[in-house]
Symmetry: C2
């Protein structure tokens, strides 16, 4: 239990709270703990986001459809983590992707109403939440940078960096090759050359339906300039 | 003054507050009013964002450099409006673009510390602010949709819709043609054909260094599907 408590203290929303305040907050607030075994569905894409869900132990997998459903990006995240904090408020208050458990996983959830009360009583939580949502918003203007890369390997690398997270593990991009090279406006032969080059350098592995990211750091090194550094710091 | 008061009541941050509460909030909080004449600099790109700045009368112009500085998007916004609310918190607490006055313009500003107090005392303001920042974050995942358009006219249209706002006026995209068609991976002749087609339909006008948007609504009609509607509702 103390492990879980440490994990909660390290959640971005509670960073900066002292242990006594957190204990008091958890005791006073209506909080639920949910347990999942391997491969359980935690949230489904399109489901109403009525609670803030924290991963307090175990691991989750996010399956995120991009490029209008043609590309599926899978990433795993260890506890402590928060599921889609930028979908509790705003216009689209439903989950943008599927989340499943990887092994035994515990989720702590707080209803939106309760969380509003927490923020109104704890300035640190309010500021942490605004920092989280603002960070994601600030990335909006920067995630087109990959298009200005003229080199195809760099373009693909920047795009992958943009759509994946530094903390993500076991990252897989599931798609048909054709959908991806059409998306980039690349010729098939150029695309395959880029994939082979990245595979020879042990940065990715791939087959006809999946690109597996082996070394995200090396991918970042390929875009070693201000924008590459910018992306890496933030995503 | 009552015009200005009405204008403040219509600011997204204060929406839902009743008039008496707003009066009390304005009286109790440290608020400054700043006056600008035509073409005054209100904020400079890179300047620290220490205050939330509200346009309460007049008009502002935003000059936003995108595509690593090669393309400059200019838009004008009438009062009431808020300048860059998603840069008060988060990692980058500095203005992402230049803002100047168009004619006589009044700005009301509240320091970050004061605004935190306002949010902690007024649940509506807290929710409004979280809605604003979350909305912008939610757009992140959708602003690549233009790349999946195979038709070049549609691709350019979606890109412009993405980077401009429904409320924006006198929208101009300042760039060299070459930088833009290179960015899109288009041939020059295709790009010019698209521009001429849009000009013939009185949707844009253009010269060698500027594309002027005449009819943003018609541009949206060119992308008349779910994604086009999605973009139009949100930007």
């Amino acid at each position: 239990m103390s492990d879980m408590y440490d994990s909660i203290l390290r959640l971005p929303i509670f960073l900066g709270l002292n242990s006594a305040t957190l204990t008091s907050l958890l005791e006073k607030s209506a909080i639920q703990f949910l347990k999942y075994v391997n491969d359980d569905i935690i949230v489904t894409k399109g489901e109403d986001c009525t609670h803030l869900k924290f991963v307090v132990s175990g691991k989750i997998r996010i399956d995120n459809e991009v490029v209008t459903g043609k590309v599926n990006i899978c990433e795993e995240f260890d506890a402590p983590n928060i599921i889609a904090p930028d979908y509790l408020f705003g216009r689209d208050t439903y989950y943008p992707y599927n989340v499943t458990s990887v092994g035994e996983t515990s989720i702590m959830q707080i209803s939106k109403t309760t969380f509003i009360n927490v923020m109104m009583q704890h300035e640190i939580c309010l500021i942490n939440m605004l920092n989280l949502t603002s960070n994601r918003s600030q990335n909006t203007m920067n995630n087109l940078s990959f298009m200005s890369a003229s080199d195809m390997k760099e373009k693909l690398s920047r795009w992958i960096l943009n759509l994946t997270n530094k903390q993500g593990k076991n990252i897989q991009i599931k798609c048909k090759h054709k959908d991806l090279y059409t998306f980039f406006g690349m010729q098939r032969s150029v695309f395959i050359n880029v994939l082979n080059d990245l595979r020879d350098n042990e940065i990715i592995d791939y087959n006809g339906s999946c690109i597996k990211l082996l070394d995200r750091y090396a991918l970042k090194e390929l875009c070693n300039d201000d924008i590459g550094t910018y992306i890496e710091n933030n995503w």
